[in-house]
Symmetry: C2
Subunit: 411 residues, 2 copies
Amino acid sequence: MARIVMKFGGTSVADLDRIRAVAARVKREVDAGNEVAVVVSAMAGATNQLVAWCTQLSPLHDAREYDAVVATGEQVTSGLLAIALQTRGVDARSWQGWQAGVVTDAAHGKARIEEIAGDEMVARMQAGQVPVVAGFQGLGPDRRITTLGRGGSDTSAVALAAALHADRCDIYTDVDGVYTTDPRIVSRARKLPRIAYEEMLELASVGAKVLQTRSVELAMKERVRVQVLSSFDDGTSLGGDLRGTLVVDEDEIVEKEIVSGIAYSRDEAKVTVCRVPDRPGIAAAVFGPLSAASINVDMIVQNISADGNTDMTFTLNRADLPRAEQVLADNRDKIGYRELVADKEVAKISVVGVGMRSHSGVATTMFQALAAKGINIQVISTSEIKVSVLIGAEYTELAVRALHTAYGLDA
Amino acid sequence: MARIVMKFGGTSVADLDRIRAVAARVKREVDAGNEVAVVVSAMAGATNQLVAWCTQLSPLHDAREYDAVVATGEQVTSGLLAIALQTRGVDARSWQGWQAGVVTDAAHGKARIEEIAGDEMVARMQAGQVPVVAGFQGLGPDRRITTLGRGGSDTSAVALAAALHADRCDIYTDVDGVYTTDPRIVSRARKLPRIAYEEMLELASVGAKVLQTRSVELAMKERVRVQVLSSFDDGTSLGGDLRGTLVVDEDEIVEKEIVSGIAYSRDEAKVTVCRVPDRPGIAAAVFGPLSAASINVDMIVQNISADGNTDMTFTLNRADLPRAEQVLADNRDKIGYRELVADKEVAKISVVGVGMRSHSGVATTMFQALAAKGINIQVISTSEIKVSVLIGAEYTELAVRALHTAYGLDA
């Protein structure tokens, strides 16, 4: 007997047939003697429609009203799944965020969960009832509906698992686990049976969009064991068979790979601020205004100074590039640079693995493998468990394949 | 300066353009110096879709889950209208039933409003804010979402007007007022500038479906002045111009017509229970089982007894006829009738008017007008302000036109 939170994304509840299939799957976990709580997203497409209505009425709409409108998507699926479960003889009821005691901060549209009052739900689960909780939503300090931002249902599920002291949080999605890299690029990519929270975070933040980053951070903080599973397999076995990928504490992984996966991101842009005076405070002068404009800067490189001037290069999300150029132009006098050079034709490739901590030579392997394919490295950035390089976007697939082979990840 | 509740039905908020038009209309009332609260229905068609999903998952779905699903329709429009108002510079916010303190009983799917806590809304209205309240919904005693049943947004609006001590409740709908009869049958039907609550109730219950019956009962009880207006006229003037029909206390109507309107209903069926023993308790034996089966019986006629047996005739909603026949068949031995004769080809025609109370001869005029057209009357029923007759369904239009002329209602 285990206590499990099962989370189903938008494609898993896209229509009534799929909702029925979800109900059947939940029933199997219940029949196996588990205590189950469910978190649901909105039907695929529903949220986009609701967002579009808000945006069409006003591009600068009130985020509190946006939240009231958009939260209805999950409300619908929570009620429908409860009905589908009841018709299968499973005692179930829906819980909206405000009913389930999902308390968030006041950041409408991207709120953070502060607390979930799980006591009543636990008591009902022990009595055999399945709570079906609307994901993605909560109640703000002013008693208004908040939403957690896109993909927030993953975070809802992990937070609920923590509040209910669940043994596991199963995230059913349209992929069947976490792979060593994107199988669309490398056909010999392997599904990882286990991955550490830190690795998952690095993979998620560089483009392997299986779980929302914040949900992984929360899982790591609360030590919630998360399993990524497909909702589209034959569905005859139970989540407990661990056919997906389990995201767990590093200590739970006995056989640590040096490199667990190769990630890539095409959403990058590179900016070089040329010939700025090489003096204390110049980095603050460049990055202060960008930060004030809520533009996240990723990799930063400053070249060695020769003539009292230096070049400063950084990367950022490609969508932020026009705003970043504007902000820097507005501050040109204060920074005192000669010119700005922007490049959108770049990609970031990262190798990730907790085993790196105790192994040297990981970066060298990467540089050699890329050099062997004639790929020039523009920027390098490293962390404890990750090495990232910026390369020309046209080399993305070539680089990913070369590295997948170089680190012995091919199936 | 007046305090006004404005209610917009599903066709008035069917898409973003209509929501924008509603916002413009609300703004005009605000700009005229009025304190305004708004009640909205779901977008036309939205509720039907949500109901269909519930029914497809289970014809016998949990009414509490049904309510959670169906209430989202109004939640969406309340948020969207708030956004549309804000873009026009009108301070506005949405209120869901549970936020607005709309307390109902526990009868999910057809709940009754017990109380609305209007204090905070009044304070905000006085500060210039427009509350946009999701109609049709409330909060049950178990802190779960309830809905009021189809058409319940009218009731929400009237209850809100009572709670806010509003001067008037304007119901914007797809007709522009209450007419002396159905203009599709009588082209010379006139729009009534005023009508008494009691008349409106009689007209609504016999088929002039402009307002939900319960909303009129509530308006009468709470003395809320209700105005029926079209949301599709040119929209340049204000509700205060009283271009619709005002539903008010009889005392507010100075020039009382003897007959205000002619109503008809085609949803009738007639049942005759032939040759039942004419003894005390026989009516209870016939109607007790029907009542126990929640079948509403309308007109009842018992013929004079000749040989110790009698015929008993009654009318009911046509949709209930199969169940009524079954119930009576099941109780045949107890009642002791010889046979049942059912007739679905009947219609009920009613003349309604509070002026009837102080005038005689109203029924006679009706009987003469129908006789002059050769229309046979099958059943007669009268109340203080109404005379109804059951006739062959094929005579419906002929009867309505004849009576409209006979009572001097033609324009």
